[in-house]
């Protein structure tokens, strides 16, 4: 057996007390394609960021070519021959493809002026792109290239660096089927040249298409590592999920029957983000919307709320057709959006708590301070908001209390349809349980809740029904009895139900 090119031994890493990697070992052989899989937050990106010097491990050992790699920095990793093709492409849009490939090391004429040798840049860039099997004109600005072509430019940049290991983080996330197929050809060519590839993905099909070996991470641990031939899909999914549902969720009221229809959506589409989405939401129901990051869930919620455009689709609220063109329209129809990012979309960070609570229920011209104070105090008590006072700037509160402020705002506005996007992101465990209770409470008082969460157990623990999205489409619907982690994961990764 050949010696590994990269060997990571017992890598540990935690972020502010939260353990991201526990003694993870990982190795890559020369010229192999190694798939790295796991749920959101399993530690895949953290591990690869350590390999490429972006993050520093808390413990463990890294060997490169059989020798200790020492202190890794992004620069050192690059010199060793590790290239990272990120999910968010990092090209300078106004510069040409060729210039991007040689960014930072343009070939120059000797002398104090260091004239750039453009002909050489474009000639060598053209050769590299040709070797990858895609003749792109190196003079074209990066902004004009398709996402797939831009990715290729990044891979060509890696080759120009004499990279021996290319790490690709969900490279097909933004690609069409055809572009993805071309990428697989490129990966095959890299393999022929003896370049190793670490392929981070969520999509089961791609693992079996491209990879020779696969490593599964879960909750920061390595739970499996084997040649793909020895790990059939069912077993792989079991490894990815592999834990019993936790008991932190308040039980659903067994006597409760979902009743009257609150919201119906049909044929909702926006190009490149979501396609032909249809569902209905009943009074007193929590509808889970599961899927992987990038499946189009946030985009869908924002479009339903009138905050992002959509091209086609119809909406009914309590049986009546409605058109929603702005968040104002949505609010008038009793909708509420709790956005995925409190800081940039949810709160006015520097403003006092009380302003943040009343912002969505202001009526008329005059501000009635007394009433606002009474209402805010009532909400604060009801949600057990812990804050020094109503005048406290909201950014001084903990994440859990900030989220309660956002919830309080919509309770005060008397909303009946709650669109919750990652309602427990960045919240500690204790506060999470309180938020879960509040969500159950919303349903109990007759509201309808659409719950988006990347934490699968959260969706399964709370939802009465689960819709699974995959690449912008509803891949399937599961009721409470059918919805297990494995069934959801299979749909979310593009497998059959």
């Amino acid at each position: 057996m050949t010696a590994p090119l990269l060997e990571m031994r017992a890598i540990r890493k935690s972020f502010g007390g939260v353990c991201a990697l526990r003694e993870v070992s990982f190795d890559v052989l020369p010229g192999e394609v190694h798939a790295l899989v796991g749920e959101n937050g399993a530690g895949k990106s953290t591990l690869m960021n350590i390999a490429s010097g972006v993050l520093k491990a808390d413990g463990g050992e890294i060997l490169w070519d059989g020798r200790p790699a020492g202190e890794l920095t992004p620069r050192r990793a690059q010199q060793m021959g590790i290239a990272f093709v990120h999910q968010e492409l990092a090209l300078a849009p106004q510069l040409s493809a060729g210039e991007n490939i040689f960014l930072g090391r343009r070939p120059c004429r000797p002398g104090p002026l260091g004239w750039v040798r453009w002909e050489e840049i474009h000639r060598r860039a053209g050769e590299l792109l040709h070797q990858l099997g895609r003749p792109i004109d190196p003079r074209r600005p990066a902004a004009e290239l398709s996402v797939g072509e831009q990715q290729l430019v990044e891979i060509a940049r890696a080759l120009a660096f004499q990279a021996r290991l290319v790490i690709m983080d969900e490279p097909t996330a933004a690609l069409s089927e055809r572009e993805a197929a071309r990428l697989f050809e490129v990966i095959a060519r890299l393999k022929q040249r003896g370049v190793s590839v670490v392929y981070i993905t969520h999509r089961l099909k791609e693992i079996y298409q491209t990879a020779g070996r696969v490593t599964v991470l879960r909750d920061g641990r390595r739970v499996a590592s084997a040649p793909v031939a020895e790990l059939p899909p069912e077993e792989l999914v079991r490894h990815m999920v592999g834990r019993a549902a936790r008991e932190q969720f308040p039980p659903a009221d067994p006597g409760r029957r979902p009743a009257e229809e609150l919201l119906r959506v049909e044929g909702f589409s926006a190009r490149g983000r979501f396609q032909d989405v249809r569902f209905c939401l009943r009074r007193g129901e929590i509808l889970g919307l599961a899927g992987l990051v990038g499946a189009g869930r946030t985009e869908l919620l924002e479009a339903l709320f009138g905050a992002a455009p959509h091209e086609a689709g119809r909406l009914w609220i309590q049986g009546r057709p409605v058109r929603i063109r702005s968040p104002r329209d949505a609010i008038r129809h009793g909708m509420a959006l709790i956005p995925d990012d409190r800081k940039t979309k949810g709160l006015i960070p520097g403003a006092p708590l009380i302003w943040n609570i009343v912002l969505a229920s202001e009526r008329g011209l005059r501000i009635r301070g007394d009433r606002e104070r009474r209402q805010s105090e009532r909400m604060a008590a009801e949600l057990r908001l812990r804050a020094p006072g109503l005048q406290e700037p909201v950014n001084r509160l903990s994440g859990g209390n900030q989220q309660k402020v956002v919830l309080a705002r919509w309770l005060l506005a008397d909303a009946s349809i709650f669109l919750l996007d990652e309602p427990t992101r960045g919240i500690d465990v204790g506060a999470k349980a309180e938020i879960y209770e509040l969500i159950r409470g919303l349903a109990a008082r007759g509201a309808g809740v659409v719950l988006v969460s990347s934490e699968l157990e959260e969706v399964l623990g709370l939802a009465d029904r689960v819709l699974v999205m995959h690449r912008g489409r509803i891949a399937g619907e599961l009721d409470r009895a059918q919805a297990g982690e494995e069934a959801v994961m299979r749909l979310a990764t593009g497998g059959l139900p």
Binding site: P327, T344, L365
Partner: protein, 321 residues
């Protein structure tokens, strides 16, 4: 944690009253340096000379609270001066002249707001920079570059007259300050302006009619420029097309010295008024001490930078704790 409470309260008080404290210290120092400074006549003089800047700064404040900027107020003031003077010369009554100046100012401000929101221009710098040139150009085109002098007494009253010993411009400023203070602190649209400046996306998602509120802000800024035109043309007894050249920068300086933040969401009427007075007192004091006008400009520039720097240092200290 009582220590934390007290130091937080102190920090908040400093933010609120810091500019006022600076103004008081300046006045005390100038009283010692010059026997002419602390007299009723001189202080009224300072107020009168600060009136136009204070008016423009009020409008500018409303815009800066939304994290915007209005570069056109000086030019709008100039155009309004000219329009009012022309109407008065053509025999319009004083009230009509005043209404014309205010209406034209508000209208041009509304155009700024519409351009910014409806054309989705990337930053209010662009439409207001355009308006700054267009309005100034129109003022020059209409007059051929010559001032229009000798205005009726009823109009001049608002720039040069007095009411029970109080200069009329000072009364105008006080009146506008009250209205703007009530608007910003007691009404929904006023508070929406702070929300937009604090986080525009969040405000939009809470149903704040962001475009409408922004148009309102720029309209108010134009309105105060129109009011400034009435005061200035009245005082100079003339509508001259270059009136208010550079005044937009003075108004921005007053707002910033008064404790508002360029990032939006922060600022008060009291602070802005004090900011305008600090600039007025500074000019007056330097005059009394026979410092040349050229050097005064240098000092004002240094004060602007120093005021913001003090604010930055204070905020960093607050964040570090």
């Amino acid at each position: 944690m009582s220590g934390g409470f007290w130091s937080r309260t102190a920090a908040r008080a400093l933010r609120r009253f810091g500019p006022l404290l600076a103004l008081a210290l300046m006045c005390a120092a100038l009283s010692l340096l010059s026997e002419h400074f602390f007299s009723l006549d001189n202080l009224l003089n300072v107020f009168r000379q600060s009136a136009v800047n204070a008016l423009l700064a009020l409008g500018q404040l409303v815009v800066i609270i939304t994290a915007g900027i209005d570069l056109s107020v000086g030019s709008i003031l100039g155009l309004c001066c000219v329009l009012a003077a022309l109407a008065l010369k053509a025999g319009a009554p004083s009230a009509l002249g005043i209404a014309l100046a205010l209406g034209a100012g508000a209208g041009l401000g509304a155009v700024n707001g519409l351009l910014y929101t409806k054309l989705r221009l990337p930053h209010p710098f662009i439409p207001t920079l355009g308006m700054m040139n267009v309005a100034r150009g129109l003022a020059l085109v209409i007059t051929g570059g010559f001032p229009i002098s000798e205005l009726p007494a009823g109009f001049r009253y608002w720039g040069a007259g007095a009411l029970w010993g109080i200069p009329a411009p000072v009364a105008v400023v006080v009146g506008f300050c009250l209205i703007f203070h009530l608007l910003l602190t007691r009404t929904t649209p006023g508070r929406d302006l702070y929300a937009i400046g604090g986080n525009r996306q969040a405000a939009l998602l809470c149903g704040v009619p962001v475009d409408g509120r922004l148009i309102l802000a720029y309209t108010l800024s134009g309105l105060t420029a129109g009011a400034g035109a009435v005061v200035l043309a009245g005082r100079m007894n003339s509508g001259f097309p270059l009136a208010g050249a550079g005044a937009e920068l003075d108004s921005i300086a007053a707002v910033i010295i008064g404790g508002a933040s360029f990032f939006g969401g922060v600022g008060t009427v009291l602070g802005t008024l004090v900011g305008a007075l600090i600039m007025g007192v500074l000019r007056n004091g330097l005059n009394l001490m026979n410092v040349s006008a050229y050097w005064q400009t240098v000092v004002i520039g240094a004060v602007i930078v120093a005021a913001v720097w003090v604010d930055v240092v204070r905020q960093r200290a607050a964040a570090g704790r």
